[in-house]
Symmetry: C2
Subunit: 264 residues, 2 copies
């Protein structure tokens, strides 16, 4: 069942070809896990979405409470991955948005993978644009991540890490990156090109974390590393470009964070 612009559909209508979300990537989304039908950290996701809408000058036709209600109904009583998408709406050709436009919102559910095992990554050829607002927005412009993930796929690993234009670590295609260094957690500041991830934010609140730039050298010399995202909480990152990260089994703090973030 899909919710779209206020109505529930078993077979949702297609999107008009004039929607700017499709033509230009002019829109935002949030992906979140629902466990037993309860969307996890939904308030934080909606708050980030609202900040993004404000940055783009899109006015949501629905309140956060309406979207929360719709997310719960789409989730049912299940463990699912929810995706809430908002586009600026349909408009004439061209980049400049028309003065009057009606945004379009929908919510769909997908199966939730409960994979929790360690991950291997490569460092992508792609570079995150740390000097663009887009690095701070969960926008529909995800082709760079698709390209990087295709590199990972070709290398037979799970994820791709992206450096920024300074050559320092920004994030993974669909996750933030933390390292463990001298027993302490460290993650790149958002102005390095890291999306302000919801789990990232929760880890910053719940644990002592240093926000400081991470060079590839620092990453490779770390005692351990992990990735965070809303669909798996936290997973160990045990190898990058074929070289192991850390000497031992993943640090217990990683499983501790996962349990706290994602009780499955």
């Amino acid at each position: 069942m899909i919710w779209m612009n206020g109505a529930y559909h078993l077979a949702p209508p297609g999107l008009p070809l004039s929607d700017r979300g499709l033509l230009l990537g002019d829109g935002l989304f949030e992906t979140l896990a629902a466990l037993d039908g309860l969307p996890l950290r939904a308030e934080a996701h909606l708050a980030r979405l609202w900040r993004g809408l404000e940055a783009l000058g899109i006015e949501s036709p629905y309140t956060q409470a309406e979207l929360m209600d719709a997310m719960e109904r789409v989730a049912g009583e299940r463990d699912v991955s929810l995706r809430l998408t908002i586009t600026r709406g349909a408009g004439p050709r061209g980049l400049t948005p028309p003065e009057v436009i009606k945004p379009r919102a929908w919510i769909a559910a997908s199966p939730l993978s409960l994979a929790a095992g360690p991950m291997r990554a490569i460092i992508s050829q792609e570079r995150r644009a740390e000097r663009s607002q887009l690095s701070q927005l969960k926008s529909l412009n995800r082709l760079q991540d698709v390209l990087a993930r295709r590199e990972a796929q070709a290398a037979g690993v799970d994820e791709a890490l992206l450096l920024n234009h300074q050559g320092r670590l920004a994030e993974a295609t669909a996750a933030n990156v933390f390292i463990i260094r001298k027993g302490r957690l460290q993650t790149p500041p958002c102005d390095e090109g890291a999306l302000p991830g919801i789990i990232r934010g929760a880890v910053l609140k719940g644990w002592q974390v240093i926000e400081a730039p991470i060079t590839p050298k620092l990453l490779m010399e770390a005692e351990g590393a992990f990735l965070t995202n809303s669909l798996y909480g936290a997973r160990a990152l045990i190898a990058v470009d074929g070289a192991p990260i850390g000497q031992d089994a993943p640090a217990p703090i990683i499983a501790e964070i996962r349990r706290a973030m994602f009780p499955r």
Copy 2:
């Protein structure tokens, strides 16, 4: 009339919400002018599209000849702007493309503006990612251009110029930039973050042009400047951030290039 995946529609079907073009911006497009129904430089547009499809690993379900024929039929005998879009197609949730996927292509026409007058621009806060393949692809990821164009709109000007992460000029949101310096044309190389524009390529072939980086200082001190894109050929750029470019009326070479590129 819209052509979509081999059929002509007066009221085209909507796009499935699972199309990766919509979900992730996983697709490409070309915009080109048709005059009296004849698409201008269609071979060059299709060649660029094919290079992009290869970079993304998308196999077009249609040949260039089939797309050419469809563009001509959609254009009719009119002066129109044509947009040819190809997405990777519908897939399950997630960045990694599925092994089997059927791309989707469509062609739509819009009114063609024949504006030819001089343009004013600002320099955007956004920075083009010159270290990303995306800067070389006419992909569906155009939100950065929308953001920059909104800055231009707020400043009451026509266009926004984007610098790269080195602080040098890459291009405009929907155009390449040329300056006139010591009587010669100069434009940034593509590895500065400039899209390999079709008109840009034609100007490089037809005129003597220096491909070399352009700092904002060089731009502001230029004898003249102009923008090129497929929907207007060439237009003079006479002011940036409120300061005039050049001392005199736009150089005659700009009108000469426009006439050669865009005979209207």
